[in-house]
């Protein structure tokens, strides 16, 4: 098992090189200049030249790439060239927010998607099945931006049940000192239950908005995996033994059907982490996606490079964890 992990981690090295090279090349292939973003309509060719010189943007690209790689290896992500903010520190301040949102979205998709998939499989071709699959399809087809605004207007503006955006309210926010950056956990650790309620209330809408993306996939995959498993011989045996149907489905069938679902959930977690840009923007969520997006618009090379490298490595690591979790769900799988 340990050997397997080490081998997988070593496999990260070429992945890492590939990611950095790709990000670097793509970013420098987009036309545009950070100096122009900074000075806007005011930029003169002389000032642009001076700025490029100062920021080291006049070096040949291979040299710039090696410099970038070298500082990454020293765990030095550098500073944003637009704002001067140190990138490592900014990732440190923001990653937990993104993780909390992504995890909540995935949780939402599991809590709704798995039961919907099971019911749809058990009542195959019934109206429940059709309804569940249609709803999940609509969910995935609706643009997050639009869905987000819809949720905000319905639940925050018209009904007033939930806060429109942000991570924590104004009065709850005073003096709330995060420890880990995961606000839900921090509120628990601080025994601050007023804040906890408020933080959870802030999480609901963005988690739903973001969670609809994997929801359809989770629901549909659960359904098809369940259908396949339910037709297996051992299920017939279990039923023949006289087990309660509930147990046959939840214990014997579901556990075996879950394997592909878990793979997809793991992949989705990584995808959501990087695609939460719109959700984070519309819900003013102080995460990584919103920050990278701003960096792309401003041609802030170090921010985008650092941010994307961070997200990609996280993505790879999460997939490793998913692979390792197979052993729990299917004891026949062993890692050598």
């Amino acid at each position: 098992m340990l050997r397997y992990i080490v081998r997988r981690l070593l496999g990260l090295v070429p992945v890492f090189l590939g990611i950095t090279l790709l990000v670097f090349t793509l970013l420098h292939a987009i036309p545009g200049d950070p100096a122009v973003f900074l000075m806007g309509e005011r930029a003169t060719p002389d000032q642009i030249a001076a700025f490029r010189e100062q920021m080291g943007l006049n070096e040949p690209l291979p040299i710039q790439y090696l410099t970038f790689l070298g500082s990454l290896l020293r765990l030095d992500f550098g500073n944003s060239i637009v704002t001067g903010i140190p990138i490592a520190a900014e990732i440190g301040r923001r990653w937990a927010a993104s993780f909390e949102l992504t995890a909540s979205a995935v949780l939402f998709s599991i809590l709704v998607g798995v039961p919907a998939g099971i019911i749809a499989a058990v009542r195959k071709n019934s109206w429940v099945d059709n309804l569940a699959m249609t709803v999940s399809l609509v969910g995935v087809s609706m643009p997050v931006y639009w869905l987000g605004l819809l949720l905000i207007y319905l639940f925050a503006v018209n009904l007033g049940w939930l806060p429109p955006s942000g991570r924590i309210g104004i009065s709850e926010g005073f003096g709330f000192q995060p420890i880990t950056g995961f606000y839900v956990l921090d509120a628990l650790l601080r025994f601050n239950f007023t804040a906890l309620r408020d933080i959870l209330a802030h999480l609901i809408l963005p988690a739903i908005a973001l969670g609809t993306i994997p929801l359809a996939i989770v629901a549909r995959l659960t359904r098809s995996a369940m259908l396949e498993v339910l037709s297996q011989d051992y299920i017939r045996t279990a039923r023949a033994k006289g087990l309660l149907e509930r147990w046959v489905i939840l214990k014997h069938a579901l556990k075996n059907a879950l394997l592909p679902v878990i793979t997809i959930i793991g992949l989705q977690f990584g995808t959501l982490l990087s695609s939460a840009v719109l959700t984070e923007t519309i819900f003013s969520w102080p995460g990584i996606g919103e920050w990278i997006y701003g960096g792309i618009l401003a041609r802030d090379y170090p921010v985008v490079q650092g941010g994307v490298v961070f997200v990609s490595i996280t993505f790879v690591l999460i997939n490793l964890l998913v692979d390792l979790s197979y052993a729990f769900f299917d004891p026949r799988i062993q890692y050598k």
């Binding site: 036309p31 545009g32 122009v36 944003s80 060239i81 520190a89 925050a156 923007t281 003013s284 920050w291």
Partner: protein, 554 residues
Amino acid sequence: MIRRWKRWRRWQPVLLSMVFALTIVLSNCGGSPDATDSPEASSPAASSEQQALVFGLGGQPANLEPGNITDNNSIYVHEQIYDRLVHFEPGTTSPVPGLATEWSASEDGLTWTFTLREGVTFHDGTPFNAEAVRVNVERWWDPASPTGYRDAGRGYEIWPGLFGGFKGDEASSLVSLNVVDDYTIEFVLNQPFAAFPVAIGSGYFGIASPTAIEEAGPDYGTPGSTAVGTGPYVLDEWRSGDRVILSANPDYWDGAPAEEQLVVRFITDPSARLAELRAGSIDFTVELAPDQLQEIEGDDNLEAVFRESFNVGYLGLNTGFEPLADVRVRKAIALAINRPEIVSAFWGELGVSDPHFLPPSMENFNANDLEVYPYDPEQAKQLLSEAGYADGFDLEMYYMPVSRPYFPTPKPIAEAFAADLSAIGINVSLQTKDWAVYIEDSKKPPGFQSFMLGWTGDYGDPDNFYYYHFGPGGTTDIGEWKSDRVIELLNQARAEDDQGAREQAYAEVDKILYDEVVRIPIVHSQPLLAQRTNIQGWNPSPLGSEPFNTVSKE
């Protein structure tokens, strides 16, 4: 059985810790409600939390370091923390004393002497004096300043943008900086610059505590660090991507803030900002889109607030492109575009169409006998045929790929221009480029044949609008069009101290530009702001931001 036990062992720690956590939660719920040892209860903010004023800003500030920012989000927060040497009368562009109580130029107009306000201290207790001003100005101007942290990537791009260059550059307007005594400082310039006090008073140049800058090092003004000024509010905390928390400076020299606490939340999306305002979770906000006016007016708890326009959106005509070298053709274009209709369609109440390049907030510098070119396609056609283009010609028109306050929806606006021009036989093909490339390429000869662009003022003086667009070196995007008289007048107004004479010079510039039609002013747009009805004392400045010490909440 053994396998089951193994599996149980694997999950045991997780389950136990969950039970533990649950126990803590439950026991705490039933426990004493006045958990006085929690950090929340001891926070000084707890008492005033109901009163906190909440402002919805259009995004996170780039940083809180004066001289190193150009974005509106930063300037808004700067305005609360820092003062500048020169301030502006609320709601106008007229200069009034800020950290300097008076200022004057020498006979030859080259030396500006500022007398500083006594008895002011920075939020960290450092006294404000001429030395503090020197340290701040040197960081922006002098590449060798030890607290400029240029090695760590500080650029101070705005300084050469407004003052020609850094120390040592030939074009630098500032030649030397002299501390005369504790409360007097002199700026020596290479040529007279009448707008200097107004320019140094622009929102970029807040005066920061030299002690704080030195202590924080290159991180000064970033989320994990500090930002210390003399302004109405003191920075307590900056939560990156989320909010800035400020508390009142009770000793503020220009009147302590009406509210004890100010929270600035960063909400990038305009629809989300308006939703927050309607839900009551923010009290006032800026940078809303023109089409949101109706929604604001439909909500009884909200009020639309208007900021006087301080920008111009124009259509640039490149005289390097043959047909446009003839002024009759340029005039024909001005006559063919139905400005009143376009402005009312795209801006509604929020756009002003007038014949001037300068926004209405500086109307005293305009020629007052000009009329907007009327919509007259017949006369336009006649001018075209006089110029030898009776059959029209093909014209490339570039529209901006991004939304700016002066052109919120560039493409549909460009389509409206194209439709009007096709009526007089000019075939417009619409083009665009990535924003950064757009600006670069427009200035690189030969430039674009025609293009949409605009300008938002940095400070309240015509020089800031005119010199950049019509001064020497400012016309590469319009085929090196030049008017010696305009350049002469602009230089004269730079050197002139007398207000009346300056007004006269700029009025003549206005007239010449009106006749030459190289940049056709299409619109001066008013930014749309909104507040909840229980907010009072907000007086938006045409310059784009204002301190909130007068704003209160009922």
